[in-house]
């Protein structure tokens, strides 16, 4: 979209008699379009696709045998287990919160609603390592509750609970944020109709509200899960890097890499990359589905 390209476009378009294509007033020259498409793909390839491909190549550099050997390691399995455990707590916790928050915000009017919506987004504005740090300040040895926890022999920081808490914090807004705008747009008409037909609160939610938000909810769950499994900064701060105890998969990748155990590092990374690609595939499918339903219900 540079000046030289566009001013040149006039000259080219004028002299482009060979292609008998009607140049619409709102379209750019054909070559410019191809330039845009080329630049887009090149940009994406350089920063995203080639590096992603490299992860798999590096992981398989010494063959399938070496690749699978990377997982024949108790530390790798403990990292996978902790990652799954963390997501299994963080995702449902944020789903319950997201449903409660979106019901209160979208179906009722009350003072301070905009403040509440802003506060829900707050964790996005906090840097990942700071997200970890705040839990260290609460539960660490020198933190507010540190001495009390120590005297009761409860460990949160440098243990699994800290990892879970930090993960809940960084994924906190993801479900709520998908649901709130959708439920606000849908309004309360259908719920009121259900109430006037004699349905109770739980029946109304289960039979009317939930079916209307199911795709957005699923979308939020997928994003929340991907972030929960992939979080690095916040988890790194609270984990204390105890291999076999507080290492999640991303942290395990880092420690393998720092030990120059490249094949294993890339192998575990490739597993995470596959998770990302799968997330993307499901997310795209859900998105298309949502759009289709939106179009269907928009028809007269």
């Amino acid at each position: 979209m540079g000046p030289s390209a566009a001013s040149a476009h006039r000259g080219i378009a004028a002299g482009h008699a060979a292609a008998p294509r009607l140049q619409g007033t709102t379209a750019d020259a054909r070559w410019l379009e191809w330039l845009f498409i080329g630049v887009s793909w090149a940009f994406l390839a350089l920063v995203l696709l080639v590096p992603l491909g490299a992860v798999f190549c590096e992981a398989l550099r010494e063959g399938l045998r070496a690749y699978f050997d990377a997982f024949d390691d108790p530390y790798a399995w403990s990292a996978i287990r902790l990652t799954l455990f963390t997501a299994a707590i963080a995702v449902p916790a944020n789903v319950v919160f997201g449903l409660a928050a979106s019901w209160a915000i979208a179906k009722f009017e009350f003072r301070g609603k905009t403040v509440l919506i802003t506060l829900i987004d707050l964790p996005f504005a906090v840097a990942p390592v700071v997200s970890g740090l705040i839990y260290v300040l609460l539960f660490g040895m020198t933190g507010w509750f540190g001495p009390w926890l120590a005297s009761h022999d409860i460990q949160i920081i440098f243990a699994a609970p800290g990892v879970v808490l930090a993960t809940i914090f960084v994924t906190f807004p993801l479900v709520a944020r998908e649901l709130i705008p959708l439920m606000q747009e849908q309004g309360t008409d259908e719920e009121e109709a259900a109430a006037s037909l004699g349905a109770g609160g739980w029946q109304t939610f289960r039979r009317v509200t939930l079916p209307n938000i199911k795709w957005a909810l699923m979308y939020g769950v997928i994003l929340c899960n991907a972030r929960a499994m992939g979080e690095f900064g916040a988890v790194s701060v609270v984990s204390g890097h105890l291999r076999g105890k507080t290492h999640t998969m991303p942290l395990h990748v880092e420690s393998l890499y720092n030990e120059y155990n490249f094949v294993a590092a890339f192998a575990v990374a490739s597993l995470l990359a596959m998770l990302a690609v799968a997330t993307l595939a499901v997310k795209t499918a859900v998105q298309w589905r949502m759009q289709r339903e939106l179009q269907d219900s928009a028809e007269p």
Binding site: M1, P3, A6, R10, T25, T26, F36, I37, V39, S40, F43, V47, L48, V50, P51, A54, V55, V96, L99, A100, A101, W103, K107, F108, E109, F110, L116, V126, A127, P128, V129, V130, L133, I134, Y135, V136, L138, G140, T142, F169, T188, E192, A195, S196, G201, F205, G230, E231, F232, G233, S236, V237, L251, A269, L272, A273, L275, A276, L280, T284
Partner: protein
């Protein structure tokens, strides 16, 4: 119309107290309480100690690196994000849906994977690193590598905020501009660009905010040397590793303030841009 905006609570729907109560409780426990711990801890440091920590040359160097590389990355994303968003909305070509879906990949990808992937490609032995090395361009272990990582993780923000804005553009205004004798370039510059500028700035601000806090991908591509390639997040982590919780807190609060100030400025500029656009209408 009135009842929707002003009604305090429609008795017809239940669960208001329960859901709002739970929302506020969970928000307070998970978000507000820990964040207030951060501010109180910083307040407890005393001004002198706080100031000494946050103006130490090593710390100042880390701010400069963090904000400099973040601004550069957000700018790269603004330029290329505009091209990509325009391509996705306005042009029809094979593979468009794939390209569209791939834009979200950095959202879904763990940052550690992004970091290790870039390191693999752009290190002196990597696919592209060995091409660039003879040209005298070193990427990994330099600020350029940090910038590249921040570009990758900020990629979706500009594209995703611009797409709806470009889709909302009315073809009629472009046709009107053309009918008034404007060239295609004049239409781009005077009609299209000003109307998508607010969205572009929003995307820029989001990419910038994300870049400033980024940690996971950067540590793989940076040599993490104090004064040279040490970002602020890393400095917080190393303070914590040395059990200097106070120092970590001070830097964290300072970073929050600086990024908050930057976002305020950008929001102001954005409001200015959208007001001018509205006046132009």
């Amino acid at each position: 119309m009135f009842r929707r905006t002003a009604s305090t609570s429609a008795r017809a729907l239940p669960g208001f107290g329960l859901t709002l109560g739970y929302t506020v409780l969970y928000l307070s426990l998970i978000v507000l309480l820990p964040l207030s711990a951060l501010l109180l801890r910083a307040g407890g440091l005393g001004w002198d100690q706080f100031w000494e920590t946050v103006t130490h040359p090593r710390v100042v160097a880390s701010y400069r690196l963090t904000f400099g590389t973040s601004l550069a990355a957000a700018t790269i994303n603004a330029v290329f994000g505009l091209v990509v968003a325009w391509t996705l909305v306005r042009l029809r070509f094979p593979g468009r849906r794939l390209l569209d879906a791939l834009i979200d990949l950095p959202f879904a990808m763990p940052t550690a994977v992004s970091g290790i992937a870039l390191a693999a490609v752009y290190s002196p032995h990597g696919w592209l690193g060995q091409v660039l090395e003879p040209l005298g361009v070193k990427v990994v272990y330099t600020p350029i590598g940090i910038m590249l990582a921040l570009t990758l993780i900020g990629l979706p923000f500009v594209v995703r905020t611009l797409q709806p804005a470009i889709a909302d553009l009315e073809r009629e205004t472009e046709e009107a501009a053309a009918s008034l004798g404007a060239s295609r370039w004049q239409t781009h510059r005077r009609v299209i660009f000003p109307s998508i500028l607010p969205a572009l700035m929003t995307g820029f601000a989001l990419a910038l905010a994300r870049a400033i806090g980024e940690y996971g991908s950067v540590i793989f591509v940076s040599s993490n040397l104090p004064m040279k390639t040490e970002i602020a997040s890393l400095l917080i982590v190393s303070k914590l590793d040395q059990y200097d919780v106070g120092g970590a807190t001070a830097i964290a609060v300072m970073m929050l303030f600086i990024s908050f100030g930057m976002l305020l400025v950008i929001n102001g500029l954005q409001r200015l841009a959208s007001r001018r656009y509205r006046e132009a209408l």
